[in-house]
Symmetry: C2
Subunit: 153 residues, 2 copies
DNA sequence: CGTTAAATGACAATATACTGTCAAAAGAAC
DNA sequence: GTTCTTTTGACAGTATATTGTCATTTAACG
């Protein structure tokens, strides 16, 4: 059976497929950027969140779109490796605040330096203007997909 | 430490983040589209690949960018549910060809019909022209990321 | 042919992620 | 202040994905 998609629907379907494929490659690239420091994309994300501001595990989960449990698992690994520590939270007895250690800051800086080289090269290739326009559409799609509920079964 | 990114590098970094976020939402939407049929995005992908042309598990893995083991696991589930069957392969004794059963074709058609409604609505909202332009950049990024090796550790 | 290399499916082990549940702690309502 | 709801971290169970290994089969080479 053929699907009865409109031209715009066809265009969006092709767009979605290409976005999913690109995301896979970006994920791999992120892991590769983090790997020399012994980290992964997920650990890098948590490090960056904790560096931006000390926050609880649950806070980071919300900020990163991850489950609390997933962030907790990553954070425990980071603590074991001495990259973060759990600082007392004056506003909450149980919800300790994640904070980067010097070692954690160094690891994050090393990853970010490598990411800068990588992003600069790709930005040069693709062109700032085209990237900005595509980003605009991607964000519009993000908001539309969030709003648009899937047709009921 | 601040990263020393160029304006184009900044633009690409923001682009990458938005693409990753959109991909997460698209993945969820795909699961939601497939769920009423008792399927998932991964099972839908394998069904669609087998519908496009009878192929072995390893072929589907390559086509979908999945590991053969992952596809094998999904395919075994699909066979158990009667959506596909393993047909003899005249060119290879062990590598059976996946083929959709009538039940599998019906499930795929149901998912595709729901996907069409969803894609048409989003295509309408975002506009065919903008989607096409963004897709062009996404594909260019795809090729660039594939070529661009990550800076060595 | 005969030998070697590559591909394939099966299987196991591990890593990762998500869901659900629970008790402790904090906040809200009254 | 007391009660009820929400949040948070911990834990278990399950599902999924990846990696590695193995025997069998196919293809490539001479």
């Amino acid at each position: 059976m053929k699907s009865d998609r409109t031209p715009a629907g066809d265009a969006f379907a092709a767009f979605a497929i290409s976005v999913l494929r690109l995301a896979g490659h970006l994920q791999n690239a992120g892991d590769a950027l983090a790997k020399p420091t012994g980290q992964t994309s997920a650990r890098w994300q948590v490090l960056a969140a904790a560096d931006h501001a000390p926050m609880s595990v649950a806070d980071a989960g919300r900020a990163l779109g991850m489950t609390r449990q997933g962030v907790q698992r990553i954070a425990d690994l980071l603590e074991k490796d001495g990259l973060i520590l759990y600082a007392d939270n004056p506003a909450h007895q149980r919800a300790k605040l994640m904070a980067l250690t010097e070692s954690g800051k160094a690891a994050l800086a090393a990853i970010q330096a490598r990411q800068a080289v990588w992003a600069n090269a790709l930005g040069e290739i693709l062109g700032k203007k085209e990237i900005a326009e595509a980003t605009h559409t991607v964000i519009a799609a993000l908001q539309a997909v969030e709003k648009q509920s899937v047709p009921e079964g």
